[in-house]
C-alpha cells in the first residue's frame, strides 16, 4: 500500500477554515472526524465527554468540505461492466475492486452498482458480488456499494434504450421477480438488491410493487411507457423513484403528462427522480423545468458505463453491438441512440449548478443528501452531521473562463481516512 495509508493515520482530524453544506447554503464550520470509528464526531462532546483533541488540524483555506458523492445509477467504470460476468467470481471481484478505487478518485464514495437487463443466469452470477459492503468495507478499498440497482429486465420493449430486447420479460407474480434475480439476492439479511427499475405497465408489475417495497427494496419507475394514471398508481403502491427522468419513457404530453406528471401532482407523495445532467441526455431547460417543479426530489445520476475515463474510439457493447465514444457522448454504432454516459458525477453537479440556478449547496445536495434520503440513509451518508460516516470531499470552487463556475475534487476521505489528494500522489492504488 503506497503513501500515507501504510502508517497508522491520525485518529482525530479537525478540518478548519472550510465551508460546509448546511441545508441550501454553505456555512463556515469546523468538522471533526475519527478514523477509529470512521465517523464524524460531535466535536463538543468528544472534547468534554471523551477528552479528545485533534491529532491533526487541516486548514482548508476556505475550500468547500462536502459529503462524499452517491451515485445511484452507474453501470461500470475503468473498462469494467457490472453486467458482464467474468470467468470466475474472483476475477469479477477483482474488477469490482478496481472500479471502487477509480470511482473514489472522482469523488464518488458510495454508489449502487447498476446491472442492465440480463438473463437470470447473469443476475445469479454477478449480484452476490454487488451487495452492500457494510462494515467490512475498508477506507483503502475506495467507493462502497450500498447494494445493487437492477435496471430491467421487467421493462417496456418500446422504451428499452440500449437494453437487449431478447432478455426483457414480464412478471405476473412476486415469485417471478424473485426467481429472476435469485432468492438470496432479493430476500433476507444478505440480499444484494437495493433498487429495481421496472415498468409498472409491463406484466402485472403494478400488483407487485407493494411486495417489492415491503422487502425494503426501492421500486423505481423507468424504461416505461406508463400513462400518467399508471404512474400515479405505481406511486400509490410504493414507488419512490423515477429512473433517469425524461429518458426511456413516454414523453410529456399535455393531455396526459405521463411519468413526468408525477412531479406536478399532489394526490400522493412525489417520487424522487434521477437526472442525467451530462449535457447529452437532456436539454438544460428540461432539467430546469423538472427542478422548478419539484426541487426536493432531484437526484443527480451519471448512468455512466464502463467507458467512462477511456479514450475516444469504438468499443464492444454487451449485446454484441458496438459503441462509439466521442468525448462524453456514447452512441450505438450505425444509429444515434444514446448508449449511456461517460460523465463523472462532479461534472454533472457542475452542469446542474450552471443550468438550474441552484446554489452550490443545493447542487451538492442533489448528489449527496437527496440520494441518501432515497436510500433511507439520511444522517449516515451524504451528510456532515455528527454520527454520519466520515466520507468527505475537499472541493475547489473556481471560475473557469471557458465553462464557468467549476467544482473540482481535491481530496477524498473515506471512513475518516484520506485516500486521495491531488496535491500529493494518489494513495488509492490503480
Amino acid at each position: 500500500m503506497p503513501g500515507k495509508t501504510a502508517s497508522s493515520p491520525p485518529r482525530i482530524t479537525k478540518f478548519t477554515n472550510c465551508r460546509i453544506v448546511k441545508g441550501p447554503t454553505l456555512i463556515e464550520q469546523d468538522v471533526w472526524i475519527d478514523s477509529f470509528s470512521g465517523k464524524i464526531l460531535k466535536d463538543q462532546e468528544a472534547f468534554y465527554g471523551l477528552q479528545l483533541s485533534p491529532d491533526e488540524v487541516i486548514d482548508l483555506g476556505g475550500r468547500i468540505l462536502a459529503p462524499g458523492l452517491i451515485d445511484v445509477q452507474l453501470n461500470g467504470a475503468q473498462g469494467f461492466d457490472f453486467s458482464v460476468p467474468q470467468i470466475s467470481k474472483d476475477e469479477y471481484d477483482e474488477g469490482l475492486r478496481m472500479v471502487n478505487k477509480g470511482l473514489a478518485r472522482t469523488g464518488v464514495t458510495s454508489y449502487l452498482p447498476t446491472v442492465v437487463s440480463s438473463t437470470p443466469e447473469v443476475y445469479w452470477k454477478v449480484l452476490p458480488s454487488l451487495g452492500p459492503s457494510g462494515s467490512s468495507h475498508r477506507a483503502e478499498d475506495g467507493a462502497e456499494s450500498l447494494g445493487a440497482h437492477v435496471e430491467g429486465p421487467f421493462i417496456s420493449t418500446g422504451r428499452n434504450g440500449v437494453h437487449k430486447t431478447e432478455v426483457l420479460r414480464a412478471a405476473a407474480t412476486f415469485d417471478d421477480i424473485v426467481a429472476c434475480y435469485g432468492k438470496e439476492n432479493m430476500i433476507g439479511f444478505s440480499k444484494s438488491v437495493r433498487m429495481i427499475t421496472a415498468a409498472p405497465e409491463v406484466g402485472d408489475m403494478l400488483a407487485n410493487i407493494s411486495s417489492i417495497a415491503s422487502n425494503d427494496i426501492i421500486y423505481s419507475i423507468g424504461h416505461s411507457d406508463a400513462t400518467y394514471e399508471q404512474a400515479l398508481t405505481a406511486t400509490q403502491q410504493g414507488a419512490t423513484m423515477i429512473t433517469h427522468l425524461f429518458n426511456a419513457m413516454r414523453p410529456f404530453y399535455h393531455r396526459n403528462p405521463g411519468i413526468f406528471g408525477l412531479l406536478g401532482q399532489n394526490e400522493c407523495r412525489r417520487p424522487f427522480y434521477g437526472v442525467i445532467a451530462d449535457g447529452i441526455h437532456l436539454h438544460p431547460t428540461s432539467i430546469r423545468i423538472a427542478y422548478n417543479a419539484y426541487p426536493d426530489g432531484l437526484i443527480l445520476v451519471t448512468d455512466a458505463m464502463k467507458l467512462c475515463g477511456l479514450p475516444d474510439g469504438v468499443y464492444e457493447w454487451t449485446n454484441g453491438e458496438r459503441i462509439i465514444k466521442t468525448g462524453a457522448r456514447l452512441t450505438l454504432e450505425g444509429s444515434d441512440k444514446i448508449a449511456g454516459s461517460s460523465a463523472t458525477l462532479i461534472e454533472c453537479i457542475n452542469n446542474f449548478r450552471r443550468w438550474s440556478g441552484a446554489s452550490t449547496a443545493e447542487a451538492l445536495n442533489a448528489a449527496t443528501a437527496m440520494p441518501a434520503r432515497l436510500l433511507g440513509l439520511q444522517g449516515i451518508k451524504g451528510s456532515l452531521d455528527s454520527g454520519a460516516d466520515a466520507d468527505l470531499l475537499v472541493l475547489d470552487d473556481t471560475d473557469d473562463p471557458f465553462s464557468g463556475p467549476t467544482l473540482s475534487v481535491r481530496q477524498v476521505w473515506k471512513r475518516g481516512i484520506k485516500i486521495y489528494d491531488t496535491d500529493k500522489n494518489a494513495t488509492v492504488a490503480n
Binding site: 478548519t16 469546523d30 460531535k42 466535536d43 463538543q44 462532546e45 472534547f47 468534554y48 465527554g49 477528552q51 479528545l52 483533541s53
Partner: protein, 316 residues
C-alpha cells in the same frame, strides 16, 4: 485597582487579549507548572476570545499548558444544550485553540451532588496552586459570575438561585421563553475570584456604566459584588468610553492620567508584572503581595494553603 479606558469595545478587548498573552508567555508555563486561567461567559468577553484566538492562529501564544476554570454553569441544563456555558465556551474559544481537554474545568450543573461538585471544584483550583489570572465580565447590576446583589463577599463556589431579573434578561437566549431559563446555577464565589492572584474585568457599553460607577466610585458593597475588587491587591478593569458614562470626569481623568504616567515611565505598559505592585494599590496582607515572576516559581501550593486558611470555606 487599575481602570483602563479605550474608545471602542474592540480596543478594550484587544488590550486585555494582548495583556493575557503577555502574562502567559512571561509565566513560561510547562506541563508541571501550568498557567491557571479563570474564564467568563457572556457577550462582552466574546471579542477578547476572538483576539486570543487570532493570537493563537498567528503563533503568538500556545494554550498547551494553560489550565482553565470557568466561572459558572446552569443547573440541570444538558451539557450539549446550545445555551449551556459548556457550549458557549466550546463555540467561542475551546474549539479554536489548543487547550487540552483535560485542562478544561467547567462546573457540572448536572452533578448528582451539587454541593460536592462545588467543593471539588474549589479543591481542584487549590491543588493547582490557585488561579493566576481571572478574566471576568460584569452584569448591569454589578454582579461578577452569578454573584448577584446581596451575595456574600466571602462566598465560595456554590449553588445560586438566579435573580428574577437575570432570568428575564436571559430569556432571549431561550426562545423568549421565561420558563425555559434555568432557575439555578453553580458559580464560583466572590472569594474564589478574590483568591486569584490577578483579576481582569472587561465591561463595555452604556448598560454597564452604572455598575462600573458603583464598583469604582462607590463603597465596598454586596449590592455591587464587582466592588470587591477594591480590596483585591491586583485588579484591572478595562472599559470602553460608553461604560464610563456614569463616572465623574474627575475619575476618568485620574485613571487616564495614571496610565499616561505609566506609559512615560515604562516602555512596556502592558506588562505590569514588571512594575511594582504598589502602583495598583496596597496589598491586603503580606501573603498576598503580588510579586515578581521569579519568586512565584517556588512551591505555589504552600502559599495557597495559607491563603485559603485565611478565608474558610463559606456558603451564603
Amino acid at each position: 485597582m487599575r481602570l483602563i479606558i479605550r474608545d471602542r469595545p474592540e480596543q478594550a478587548a484587544q488590550y486585555i487579549a494582548a495583556y493575557i498573552v503577555e502574562r502567559i508567555n512571561a509565566f513560561k508555563p510547562s506541563e508541571d507548572r501550568p498557567f491557571v486561567l479563570g474564564l467568563p461567559t457572556g457577550s462582552s468577553p466574546v471579542p477578547v476570545y476572538q483576539e486570543l484566538i487570532a493570537a493563537y492562529q498567528r503563533g503568538a501564544i500556545s494554550f498547551q499548558h494553560v489550565v482553565t476554570f470557568n466561572m459558572d454553569e446552569y443547573v440541570g441544563l444538558p451539557r450539549e444544550h446550545p445555551e449551556s456555558y459548556h457550549s458557549f465556551m466550546w463555540k467561542s474559544f475551546f474549539s479554536h485553540v489548543n487547550v487540552p481537554p483535560k485542562n478544561v474545568n467547567i462546573l457540572n450543573g448536572n452533578a448528582k451532588r451539587l454541593d460536592e461538585e462545588c467543593r471539588a471544584y474549589e479543591a481542584r483550583i487549590q491543588a493547582l496552586g490557585g488561579i493566576e489570572l481571572f478574566l471576568g465580565g460584569v452584569g448591569s447590576d454589578g454582579h461578577i459570575a452569578f454573584n448577584e446583589p446581596g451575595s456574600s463577599l466571602v462566598s465560595r463556589t456554590r449553588v445560586k438561585t438566579l435573580a428574577y431579573e437575570t432570568r428575564i434578561a436571559n430569556a432571549r437566549f431561550f426562545g423568549r421563553n421565561f420558563d425555559a431559563v434555568p432557575r439555578m446555577a453553580l458559580t464560583v464565589g466572590v472569594q474564589t475570584i478574590m483568591d486569584a492572584r490577578e483579576v481582569v474585568i472587561i465591561a463595555t457599553g452604556a448598560t454597564k456604566a452604572r455598575a462600573i460607577q458603583q464598583a469604582v466610585e462607590g463603597g465596598l458593597s454586596h449590592m455591587c459584588t464587582l466592588s470587591c475588587l477594591q480590596i483585591h491587591p491586583r485588579s484591572m478593569v478595562v472599559v470602553d468610553e460608553d461604560a464610563t458614562l456614569d463616572l465623574t470626569v474627575k475619575t476618568v481623568k485620574y485613571f487616564t492620567g495614571v496610565e499616561r504616567t505609566l506609559i512615560q515611565q515604562d516602555e512596556m505598559p502592558t506588562t505590569p508584572v514588571e512594575v511594582p505592585s504598589s502602583c495598583w494599590g496596597e496589598p491586603m496582607e503580606g501573603e498576598l503581595t503580588p510579586d515578581s515572576m521569579s519568586s512565584r516559581i517556588d512551591s505555589p501550593k504552600s502559599r495557597l494553603t495559607v491563603r485559603s486558611a485565611t478565608f474558610p470555606f463559606a456558603h451564603n
